[in-house]
Subunit: 227 residues, 2 copies
Amino acid sequence: MNIGILGTEMVAKTIAGKLSSLGHSVKLGTRDVKATLARSENDKAGGPPVRTWLESHPKVTLGTFAEAAAHGEIVVNALSGQFALAGLSLAGEGALAGKILVDITNPLDFSKGMPPSLTVSNTDSLGEQIQRALPKTKVVKTLNTVNAFLMVDPAQLKGGDHSMFVAGDDAEAKAEVTRILKDWFGWKDVIDLGGIAMSRGTEMWLPLWVRLWGALKTPMFNLKIVR
Amino acid sequence: MNIGILGTEMVAKTIAGKLSSLGHSVKLGTRDVKATLARSENDKAGGPPVRTWLESHPKVTLGTFAEAAAHGEIVVNALSGQFALAGLSLAGEGALAGKILVDITNPLDFSKGMPPSLTVSNTDSLGEQIQRALPKTKVVKTLNTVNAFLMVDPAQLKGGDHSMFVAGDDAEAKAEVTRILKDWFGWKDVIDLGGIAMSRGTEMWLPLWVRLWGALKTPMFNLKIVR
């Protein structure tokens, strides 16, 4: 399948690497291709610069946000929360119309120090803001509740015995994303929370997630909904 | 031990019944004892009126907020979020000074319909507000992440194989509450998140909790932190 991934940071590269290894045609999207390729410093998470990473993943291509969105039959929003709406706007409402947008971002605000707060929460969510900005796109919120390495390989933690959520207004899109989570990534327990407004629930899990990261001293954990 | 419990709704009665069954001297606190005893309707969760409940729990006594606070060597705040600060003010800063206050409330706002939003979140929390209002009291936030029946008997769900959190500024008070959670109630996995500001994390879990309640159609679930 042709997949566009918006973003070039650690989460975007981790998902791109996994999807490419499964045989999919992946294009990463960035604001300014030349500037992104010129960067020689590691990414924020300590991963290699995009140029170096692309050399070790020769099947993955890099384009503008608009080119990545046009490339994808499904598009993944892996931008950081603060850039998500601007990046999606550059990708273009038209290029995203009718498509599934897998939204894995969190509206984290690091400007007031650690642990981060949220830029939107409680009575609205980034998932809803994105769906409102792209009414013709089928936004499915998922994967925002775990570390990038767990997103694409949940089995590395206790054999995958933990939970993932999906939320979105389009039932068929949610079913397709659930199939991808299970068949491609290996998620076993995927809970359908309901419409895209349910993004409030999973985005507001992040304040507990970041505190647990501090208490457990590792990001390699997840919640299992015991019932 | 003498324990004061502020509140007379389902959560307060469930905890009072458990502590009384363990042999502790429990006093429930309410705003107006006469009015509370005069009520004949069931509580909001469908449980019996206080008068009827006290008849079946003859060792538990009822008093004002101030009397319950004075009675307790440890005091439990089981008021609903919207009344918590007012109720604690009536209990009295003096009666609570030097004591552990186990804060199990959530700042849920049902005024805008279901699912509820939070009256305070993100950059502050009810746990912090209570600690600021009662600077001489050792506030420990816990138990606010589960249904009342699970609070006092976690083993009824998968043998207790799920997680609980504590947050508070006083290390000794947290250790004492952790001992109570484990030895009296049967919690096995109690995670110390840090200071009382970490209440933001567990209170912001509630928006996901209420959505899971809707999706799973039962409140008898909990999260297990898999790591």
